[in-house]
């Protein structure tokens, strides 16, 4: 049901494989609510979390997921600034490979770096985000969250709003939600839309009000305001005025529309603080919860293929 050695992106997955991951993640979500949260699927396995880009939540989520499955988990933070890129990346991979890990979870600031690393090691590689390319577990946990909230993740109208151009979360989500037969909209100023977006199978809106109309789900993206203010939009306050999600704008979406955000949030930049905390509308906490369950499912599936290999 899951015929891949690595999870490098959503692109190579079939809709059936995605649904299979979500089903297994659902089981782990139930397990995570129990007092004894341990499953022994990965007992004896070694999982290394290799992060070349700083991350708190994703690394914690992967660490917990591995531990709950019984794996020995090691975290490695390698800041890109101390690296000489290219060669050192491969050197690091080869060195770690010699320690015989079973699962390697990798985040890197350059698109394609995780693909490159996967070619150099014998273990299963899990992409925890590479540059602006893909962040597959985020898209999977988002799909699971939507399925739990809406009862399905199919034939829904879903808006992704914010920095589409620089976001790997947006790319993975567009791929994943399209594969599951949803109607995907992107909402952003033209400066934050990647070139060729018209060929991604999405509806494009530069007017947020128009884009939100009738949406079942509104996914907000983090805006790197310190880098983009003045370059991609005039100011943080103008961005918030045009593209920040407020209760008033949300009223244009479907009456029960769900609000999502991959975190960490910039309150008052892309989303109104009160709205973010509104448990009825916002699924942001549930996304974090589903993150651990989804990562458990993916680690489990990749480990099963290790056995088969």
């Amino acid at each position: 049901m899951f015929a891949h050695r690595h999870l490098l992106g959503i692109a190579p997955l079939s809709p059936q494989e995605i649904t299979g991951i979500l089903d297994l993640a659902e089981e782990y979500a139930a397990l995570n609510l129990q007092g004894a949260k341990r499953a022994d699927r990965l007992t004896g396995r070694t999982q290394i979390n290799l992060f070349f880009e700083s991350s708190t939540r994703t690394m914690a989520s992967f660490e917990l997921a591995g531990q709950r499955l019984g794996a020995d988990v090691m975290n490695m933070n390698v800041l890109a600034s101390s690296m000489n890129k290219g060669e050192t990346l491969i050197d690091t991979a080869v060195t770690l490979n010699a320690m015989h890990p079973d699962l390697l979870v990798v985040r890197h600031g350059s698109s394609g770096a995780v693909d490159l690393l996967a070619q150099k090691v014998n273990c299963a590689v899990l992409n925890a985000g590479d540059g602006r390319h893909e962040h597959p577990t985020q898209a999977l946990l988002d799909a699971l969250t939507i399925r739990r909230r809406k009862g399905r993740v199919q034939r829904l109208t879903i808006a992704i709003c914010g920095d589409i151009a620089n976001s790997r979360v947006a790319r993975s989500n567009i791929l994943c939600l399209n594969k599951l037969e949803n109607r995907v909209r992107v909402i952003a100023p033209p400066t934050l839309l990647p070139s060729g977006i018209d060929r991604f199978g999405v509806e494009i809106f530069t007017d947020m009000q128009a884009g939100l109309e009738g949406c079942d789900v509104v996914m907000m993206l983090r805006v790197q305001n310190e880098r983009l203010s003045g370059a991609a939009f005039p100011s943080t306050r103008e961005y918030y005025h045009r593209y920040g999600l407020t209760s008033e704008k949300l009223a244009l979406a479907a009456p029960d529309a769900t609000v999502m955000h991959p975190g960490p949030m910039n309150r008052g930049v892309e989303i109104d603080a009160e709205l973010a905390d509104n448990a009825e509308r916002s699924a942001i906490q549930e996304q974090v919860e589903m993150g651990v369950a989804t990562r458990m499912a993916v680690l489990d599936l990749l480990a099963r293929n290790l056995e088969a290999a």
Binding site: G112, G131, R132, E134, P194, S195, G196, F200
Partner: protein, 309 residues
């Protein structure tokens, strides 16, 4: 001592002949060109392969001096000879760069010692290829530089470039210049579009080339200098070239073999060995370049050989 090269496809640009033929060589010189069916005499059977004058490659980056581990005159010369290239022009992008007459002489002397083909060099257009001060044009030419160029670097400052061109026009010197608008292309490795966006690669729009070329041609018109666009790769660069020629400006342009044979899809799966400057273009642009090379709209095909990594 006579040698016959038989059953060849003879290509002779001087007479425009392209057809079957043979050559008789006496004492290292061509004694007779035999068109049509080859005579039955002892000799080397060319099996209908192309027999032509040695190719000239006007844009080659060699790492000597300073980066011989990448490419030296010896290795570049051997590669050139193996490909039928009997003369090439090395670019001044070395360490130190060829911005001093003594360095031009040194490079030429090294090349004579170690390369089995004819090697020429271009001298730096600006000191240190930094685009801040004019290099010693007439001294560089006297030392043996064929033309002046900043190689892969673009002179951003229009005032300086105008001065370089005006001064060169007084010397009758040729200026070769890379055409990429730096503020758009800096830090990028692909051409903007669906492909680069899906891969999450930093990309520059194809118009970066046309913008730089239009600026250069306006300065050529103002100064009357002889100008060579070191490499063009997009359809949008062709109309400005035609206009410049229609006005009688002394302008030529080259296209690299890569931009005639490869397109942006070749970088898929992060095949970094297809990373080029300028980046590979769309299939439409590739076809336009093939057409331009065939029609003569582009004057020269070069290798733009650059093992810089």
């Amino acid at each position: 001592m006579s040698l016959h090269l038989l059953n060849a496809r003879l290509i002779d640009p001087a007479t425009g002949y392209d057809g079957p033929g043979a050559l008789r060589i006496e004492g290292g010189e061509i004694a007779e060109v035999l068109r049509g069916p080859s005579p039955t005499v002892p000799g080397i059977d060319c099996e209908n392969k192309v027999l032509a004058p040695g190719l000239v490659d006007i844009r080659v980056f060699v790492g000597e001096p300073g980066a011989e581990y990448r490419e030296s005159f010896r290795t570049a010369g051997a590669s050139a000879a193996a490909g039928g290239v009997t003369s090439f022009v090395a670019q001044p992008d070395t360490t130190p760069c060829l911005d001093d007459p003594a360095l031009v002489q040194f490079a030429l002397a090294r090349a004579v010692q170690s390369a089995p083909v004819n090697v020429h060099v271009m001298g730096a257009l600006t000191k240190g290829l930094k685009g801040r001060e004019m290099a010693e044009q007439s001294f560089l030419l006297d030392a043996g530089a064929l033309a002046l160029t900043d190689g892969d670097h673009v002179v951003e400052n229009a005032k300086l470039l105008r001065a370089c061109m005006a001064y060169a026009s007084g010397l009758g010197a040729l200026i070769s210049h890379a055409v990429q608008e730096p503020s758009l292309s800096h830090g990028t490795c692909a051409t903007s579009g669906e492909m680069a966006s899906r891969l999450g690669l930093p990309a520059a729009p194809a118009i970066a080339e046309r913008m730089a070329l239009e600026r250069d041609l306006a300065l050529v018109e103002a100064t009357g200098c002889s100008y060579h666009a070191a490499q063009i790769s997009t359809e949008a660069a062709l109309p400005p070239l035609h206009r410049a020629r229609d006005r009688g400006l002394d302008v030529t342009a080259a296209v690299s073999i890569h931009h005639l044979t490869l397109n942006e899809f070749d970088i898929a799966d992060y095949r970094t060995f297809f990373k080029m400057t300028p980046p590979l273009r769309s299939e439409e642009d590739r076809l336009a370049m093939v057409e331009a090379a065939a029609s003569g709209a582009v004057d020269i095909i070069c290798s733009s050989h650059n093992p810089a990594g």
